[in-house]
């Protein structure tokens, strides 16, 4: 049917085929009862994340990420994961530390923005360990949105004319009304989404302060959603401010209360990123032995996230990062 469009198609592989009917079946089967979904990081990773799954990560790289889940994925040695890289920075770096993924829809990877590039993550993309399809931040955000809207595709006006398009999985189409060229972006429905929020009730209704990035659409687009939250709040608090609900409970499969759970990344209004620790991580990657020891200390040698937090300064460190967040230091 698509030969009706004498237009270009990107040659990148679609790791997830758009399928609105399959998406509908998944939404239909989600549990709509208001039941408690409280669990632990260990259990959630064990139960909901399998080798080969395609992951979407909430937040934006070094801001509001689910560090505790990412560490646990590495500890549980998940392999062959797919990754939506709509700006993944420290989160990508963590998964690269475990060499957990083998394919990636790339908008932005291996870099930590102004902080520099992750040597270890880069090596995975340079030595052929990772199959890549190229995208952009907007096109990945809109691919999630297409799935969230129950559509197989969304039109857009980016990427045309570039190699980014050539190595993407998108297609050129003509607007049925204006006859002008547009890009068609295939819906993206990840197997699992990991999202860290400010507040959630035990059912999974979530509030987020500050920018939402793409998390509302990711939650709706994904087959399974694991929420870590700074704080559990009663459902009555959700019902008091229904305008503040960003992710509704039926999207969510697991809820874990995880104060400071975005550390060492920034959590808006709570704590700033731990730049010293991020620098230490980047530096450790320069030497394989150093990096191995670093990971042993910070991930494999820790039984859980709080041990990791503790060895990096614990609550005292968080207090300093709070001060930094509120610009008092």
């Amino acid at each position: 049917m698509t030969t009706q469009f004498p237009l270009k198609t990107g040659k990148g592989r679609l790791f997830i085929q758009p399928d609105a009917e399959a998406g509908r079946e998944i939404s239909r089967r989600k549990d709509k009862r208001l039941v408690s979904k409280l669990t632990t990081v260990k259990d959630a990773v064990n139960r909901y994340i399998h080798d080969g799954d395609y992951l979407a990560l909430g937040g934006f790289g070094s801001n509001r990420i689910s560090t505790s889940l990412l560490h646990e994925i590495v500890r549980q040695k998940r392999k062959d994961l797919g990754l939506a890289g709509h700006t993944v920075t420290h989160d990508c770096q963590i998964l690269a530390a475990g060499r957990c993924f083998n394919r990636c829809d790339i908008a932005y990877v291996v870099g930590l923005e102004a902080r520099g590039l992750s040597r270890n993550a880069r090596s995975m993309f340079e030595d052929g360990s990772v199959e890549v399809t190229e995208w952009t931040n907007a096109s990945l955000a809109w691919r999630f949105k297409a799935a969230a809207m129950g559509l197989p595709f969304l039109p857009a006006r980016v990427m045309m004319g570039t190699d980014t398009f050539e190595y993407s999985g998108s297609k050129e189409i003509l607007c049925p009304f204006t006859g002008k060229k547009l890009l068609a972006l295939p819906a993206l429905s990840p197997d699992v989404a990991l999202i860290h929020v400010h507040r959630a009730d035990i059912h999974g209704n979530c509030q987020i302060d500050g920018i939402i990035m793409a998390d509302d659409d990711i939650a709706k687009a994904s087959k399974r959603v694991i929420i870590t939250t700074e704080k559990i709040i009663p459902v009555e608090d959700i019902r008091r401010e229904p305008n503040r609900t960003v992710i509704p409970y039926w999207c969510v499969d697991a809820v874990i209360e995880m104060p400071f759970g975005s550390y060492p990344a920034n959590m808006p209004g709570e704590y700033f990123s731990d730049e010293d620790h991020l620098k230490e991580w980047l530096a450790a990657e320069k030497d394989p032995e150093t990096f191995k020891a670093f990971l042993e200390k910070n991930i494999f040698g820790c039984s859980d996230f709080y041990e990791y937090l503790q060895i990096n300064g614990g609550i005292e460190k968080i207090k300093l990062l709070r001060e930094k967040e509120f610009l008092s230091n």
């Binding site: 931040n137 190699d163 990123s273």
Partner: protein, 256 residues
């Protein structure tokens, strides 16, 4: 003649290019410094957006990520990546600021790979991020970059982000929004624009102490040198004072 380094010069030139009431999407680093400087000098009503969702913050200090909490400090709106990109797609955003590992004569940028095999690149860079989107959708793309033969290349290893594509009308034909494209390339040597017809890069103004040989010798492609070009006005004492004392007092950017 005031004393300043190339980074300070580039930031001051970039800041001057932003008129009052314009909307700009910036990243971290020099572009953000330029936007802050503009706000505190010639463009108090400049609207700053960050691609992750922050809209019109009162920036207390330089963000370290385009998604960190500084980007919504006393902001008018905390939105989403899609919302920012849709604002761009709707034509709301006048300027974006980009850089890249490579740039060609038509202002196309590469921030994806070095090497010829995409599946086994010699060097993997982060990729487009929002660069392709912003350059596709904002009215005017500004590039701020040091200039040398390795960056200014005859042929990109990978065209991540659209400039004028193959020149001429090729961008207009591509389906990208009409009337958009690269506007200025600001380097440590000069300021460049693009020829109206061929869309090739051409010299607009030379920085103090630079000559046209510097322009030519630091580019892998021929930069057009028109008969008439300007000489860049130096940063004023006031610009330098605001940049150094208010915008970047810790010299994160200008100290590079």
């Amino acid at each position: 003649m005031a004393d300043f380094n190339s980074m300070e010069l580039m930031i001051c030139i970039a800041a001057r290019s932003l008129e009052d009431g314009a909307v700009v999407v910036v990243g971290t680093g020099a572009p953000c410094a330029a936007a802050m400087l503009a706000q505190k000098t010639n463009a108090p009503n400049l609207v700053i957006m960050f691609e992750a969702g922050g809209i019109a913050p009162l920036l207390p200090t330089m963000p370290i990520s385009v998604g960190d909490s500084r980007t919504t400090h006393k902001a008018l709106m905390a939105s989403t990546m899609a919302e920012i990109m849709e604002n761009c797609q709707r034509g709301l955003v006048d300027y974006c600021f980009l850089g890249g590992a490579q740039i060609d004569r038509f202002g196309n940028l590469n921030s994806t790979i070095i090497g010829s095999d995409h599946s086994r690149p010699k060097v993997r860079f982060p990729g487009s991020g929002g660069a392709n989107d912003l350059a596709s959708l904002c009215w005017r793309t500004m590039v701020v970059t040091p200039q040398d033969n390795k960056r200014f290349v005859e042929k990109l290893d990978f065209c991540t982000t659209p400039g004028f594509l193959n020149g001429g009308s090729s961008r207009a034909d591509s389906g990208l929004p009409e009337g958009t494209g690269p506007y200025r390339v600001i380097t440590d040597i000069g300021v460049y624009g693009f020829a109206p017809d061929t869309k090739e890069m051409q010299l607009l103004s030379l920085h103090p102490g630079r000559n046209t040989d510097d322009v030519c010798n630091n580019s892998g492609f021929e930069i057009l040198i028109p008969e008439k070009y300007e000489y860049t006005l130096e940063p004023t004492e006031e610009e330098l004072r605001v940049l150094r004392d208010v915008v970047d007092p810790l010299r994160y950017i200008i100290g590079r």
